[in-house]
Amino acid sequence: MKQGLHPLVMIALVALAALFGRVLPTWTLSLATVAASNALIALGIVILARTGNVSFGQGLFYAAGGYGVALIANAWGITDAVAQMLIGALCGGLLGLAIGPLIARYSGIFFGMLTLALSMVLYGALVKTTALGGSDGFNVGRPSLFGMVFTDPREADFMLYAVSVVTTGLAGIAATILFRSELGLASLAVRENNLRVEYLGLSSNRIITINLVIAAVFAGASGALALMAQRHIDPQFAYWTTSGEFVFVAVLAGYQSVAAVFVASLALELVRSFSNLYLPNTWQLVLGVFLLGVILFLPRGIGSLWIRRRNRIGPAAAAPAAIQKEAAQ
């Protein structure tokens, strides 16, 4: 997103994108729904990555949102898509609040490992909980919207698409505002050097925690959207390879641009469906090569393709990395 784009313009763009679903063929519709919901969780990872910490266990909040919604929906009969999404966001956010302060003390590899460990704790617990279907998981009913029940699958798909795109779009707008805010800029400072941020009188733990909770809210909502799209949930939501795919989207996108996250997520889903179609069992191979290519040739993500000129910080950004490497030894 460019600096000058007004939030109202962005809202109009989101609405346009949602209405665009009317003319999309059915297979693209479900693909775009998945892409939008994955973009939402990847956006959370990008937000967190701006503090220099990559979460390899975002599946924790994703599964928390998914399971939370599934359980509440089945127990109280809540089928409303927006309500489910909000419940998911709430579940993710609450979990984020609970563990955020604990893991905000760690940085770099340790942060990644700890988030991964926590998501695997949840995975292990879910697999062994027979009340929740164990490793098979369980099904939930078809979602409705504001009291409307969709019997036509085409209409139901469009409804889900619209909810996902609008949710992710609004989250994206919130993220652009966040990136320009004081907190967003302080996050970048934490990424460069957390100790110096502390000397300036800001608490880097606090900054990381807030970013983590935002990421957890997004992940929870994304889990709810994924649940609605699949109408089934299983412990795979919390497995580390699931989180890895979201990290992939975030890396592909880079941390400079919100729009890049959507493009990256859509690109990933397109590659996935095509490689499933034409080259079975090579999907991860394609993904891996793709990832290496991005790291090698586009180290700042695909976002750098269109905002490279604005931030001339290439050499400047390399210097702190070198200092950190020295410091690590």
Binding site: V54, V127, K128, W240, F248, G288, L291, A328
Partner: protein, 298 residues
């Protein structure tokens, strides 16, 4: 008493192969500062290569002891070659970048190898059970054990001792320790750090492959093997402290015992007890049990 002994022995058997995998992971981290997500894939690669070697030997009606030897030799050759190729061909392009970037590079390698093994060996389970009967059954304090499992314990202890001895009591080992301690100083002292990197990475891959080969007769090889093993070995090295050989040993024993205890006492906790220990260690001693905190420059 017998029950307790069962847990301890089962735990040690688990710990023995886990230690070999974790040792490779911790060495690679110590020398290259790379947390290698693809390490589990090298384990799986070793297991698959071993399976092929064993079944080929068995198909020619040769004795299983020859199969056992063949699988070790094949895996050692292939794993070192793969390690050298990857380090020289790929990883060296990313040195000097952020640790997290290297983490992602190894994640990409993990993804590629995951499908690579699927393409070569297919998605159906593969077995290589012939060497498993090689050492017969052993009765131990009223319990029956497969000899092969018990043999793994001294094998693993020997490997651990050799690595410790090699690192601490030989000139090559001292050079590696110097690189671990301070890379820049080693360069200025005339150490060929690039060569140490290549050697250390290949050795790490070799250890993972060997562990895969040694466990191949015990398990069924199928997709998903690597992602399970890497998570276990992560837990071990994090518990013991990244880059520490003693830590890897203690971590492996802890994880092995915890797993065995959970299987016997509380089966529903089997999967998450390890990550719980790992999370607890990270909470209270983020550097692991066996590593001193290091000062950092501001």
């Amino acid at each position: 008493m017998n029950f307790f002994l069962t847990i301890v022995l089962d735990g040690l058997i688990q710990a023995s192969w886990l230690f070999i995998v974790a040792l490779g992971l911790t060495l690679v981290f110590g020398v290259l500062k790379i947390l290698n997500i693809a390490h589990g894939s090298f384990y799986a690669l070793g297991a698959y290569v071993a399976a092929t070697a064993v079944t080929t030997v068995a198909a020619h009606n040769l004795p299983p002891s020859l199969g056992f030897a063949a699988m070790l030799v094949c895996v050692a050759l292939i794993a070192s070659a793969v390690g050298l190729l990857l380090e020289r061909g790929l990883l060296k392009m990313f040195y000097g970048r952020d640790e997290v970037v290297l983490l992602l590079v190894t994640y990409a390698v993990f993804l590629i190898l995951e499908d690579g093994t699927k393409l070569i060996w297919g998605v159906n389970p593969i077995y290589a059970t012939q060497p498993y009967e090689l050492f017969g059954n052993v009765e131990f304090a009223g319990l029956y054990y497969v000899g092969y499992d018990l043999v793994l314990i001294p094998v693993s202890a020997t490997i651990g001792f050799l690595v410790w001895f090699g690192l601490n009591r030989t000139v090559t080992g001292k050079i590696v320790l110097a690189v671990i301690h301070n890379e820049e100083m080693s360069v200025s002292m005339g150490v060929r750090v690039k060569r140490v990197y290549a050697f250390a990475f290949a050795f790490g891959v070799l250890l993972a492959g060997l562990a895969g080969a040694l466990t191949a007769p015990k398990i069924s090889m199928q997709p998903g093997l690597s992602s399970d093993v890497i998570i276990l070995s992560f837990a071990i090295v994090v518990i013991g402290g990244l880059g520490s050989v003693e830590g890897a040993a203690v971590g492996a024993i802890l994880v092995g015992l915890a797993r065995a205890a959970a299987v016997h006492l509380m089966p529903q906790a089997e999967l998450f007890i390890i990550y719980l220990i790992m999370a607890a260690v990270l909470m209270f001693r983020p550097e692991g049990l066996f590593k001193r905190e290091t000062a950092r420059r501001i």
